[in-house]
């Protein structure tokens, strides 16, 4: 066999890929589900934390800042390991899916809180004062006046951060979840051929390349504003 054929047989083996495609497709669905849950839970709790912090009460601000700092300083993989291998010592057994979901959404919430908070504070105070003079309450002011303006500043960094953190769903393979990477790795082990891993990597590119392109577009669009 020539070198190129040998290479194709090893890394782009169609038969092996076809054999394992269904397993990897199932992993793809798991990755997408996990990623969507992380994005929704992370962004929503990030916004909630930012609003709580803005309320300004010291009893709230201090713990929130500490929690956010801690989650920004500790590697997500370590948090997943702590939840998955550490919590059983306290009698709490989490699945690999649950441990990854909790860890990644907490990390995303921390980063999102910081971005939301900074963007909201960057909206000129006159906006808040004018809305108050019109007799609007806290929530209408926040959701109708301040947040729409803050979002223009928040969206580009938020999009980049969200992508970076959802790529961490691959960490779930370390705690035994059969998402894309986990499924590809077991396929490699069973077939003694690395083609499934190439297929897995391609699946990630298929999933994230459009999101990366979209984030770039957002960045350009909001940079002009």
């Amino acid at each position: 066999m020539t070198g190129l054929n040998q290479f194709i047989f090893t890394f782009l083996n169609v038969k092996v890929m076809m054999d394992w495609a269904p397993k990897i497709a199932a992993g793809f669905a798991v990755t997408v589900e996990l990623a969507l849950l992380v994005v929704v839970a992370g962004l929503a709790s990030g916004l909630a934390l930012a609003l709580l912090r803005l309320s300004g009460s010291r009893i709230l601000v201090w713990p929130i800042v500490f929690l956010v700092d801690a989650l920004r300083a500790i590697p997500p993989l370590l948090i997943i390991i702590l939840l998955f291998f550490g919590l059983p010592s306290a009698g709490i057994e989490l699945s690999g899916f649950m441990a990854t979901f909790l860890a990644l959404s907490a990390v995303l919430a921390a980063f999102a809180e910081e971005i939301f908070w900074a963007s909201i504070r960057a909206v000129p105070t006159g906006q808040n004062e004018a809305a108050r003079a019109l007799g609007l309450g806290f929530l209408p002011i926040m959701f109708l006046v301040i947040l729409p303006q803050a979002m223009r500043m928040a969206i580009p960094p938020l999009a980049n951060r969200t992508i970076a953190i959802t790529k961490g769903t691959a960490f779930a393979s370390v705690v035994g979840l059969s998402e894309i990477l986990g499924a590809s790795q077991s396929a490699v082990a069973f077939s003694a051929n690395p083609s499934p891993l190439i297929l897995g990597a391609a699946a990630y590119v298929l999933l994230f390349a459009p999101v990366v392109a979209f984030a770039r577009w957002l960045e350009r669009r909001f940079a002009r504003a």
Binding site: S119, F171, Q185, N193, I198
Partner: protein, 223 residues
Amino acid sequence: MSDFLDAFFDFDILRQARTLLLDGLLTTLLLSAIALPLGLSTGLALALLSRISPLAARLTGLFVDFFRSVPPLVLLILLFAGLPFAGLNLGPWTSVAICFLLNAGVYYCEVFRAGLDAVPTGQSDAARALGLRPTYIMALVLLPQAVRKVLPDLVSNSLEVVKLTSIAYVVAIPELLYRARQAQSTTYNATPIVAAVVIYFVLLWPVVRWLSHLENARLQQRQ
């Protein structure tokens, strides 16, 4: 309550695990000392490359977007467990180094590129009018201003790189996370993992504070 303390904050266990954890911390620092310069220099090289011509900009853009779409852990596994099938056995350290060269490199490239774009063109025009050669214009005039503009992003990226060295655990490099797991499985106690969390926090918290400060200062400047 005391059961809980014994399971997560046992000082006897901590004493037993101390040597392992310190050894792991040193390895984490060594990994960071390898990953950061590799990522920074690749990123800078890519950013400079992208300024040569519109075509070069397009190609580096594709390269950057491709490696931004692949999770770093997937890249690492591909290098470490995939390439040996082609007879290329890189071993864990080289695999991690290449992984960071590519992954951290493309993120740094984005930062450098944004920084260089933010320097007004008058700066390079003026430097050229003074008779400076292109290399000097870049190194002495443009880059220092670019770096100042994107300092928060450089710090933020570097923080992420240091945290990300924990993926070396997966290819059995005995860094902090690996040693913590090892100590946990020999002592049947979660204290070493909690200790690793605390070590990371103590190590990186000052950076997080500094970063917050830099980011807020920049936001205020923008108004």
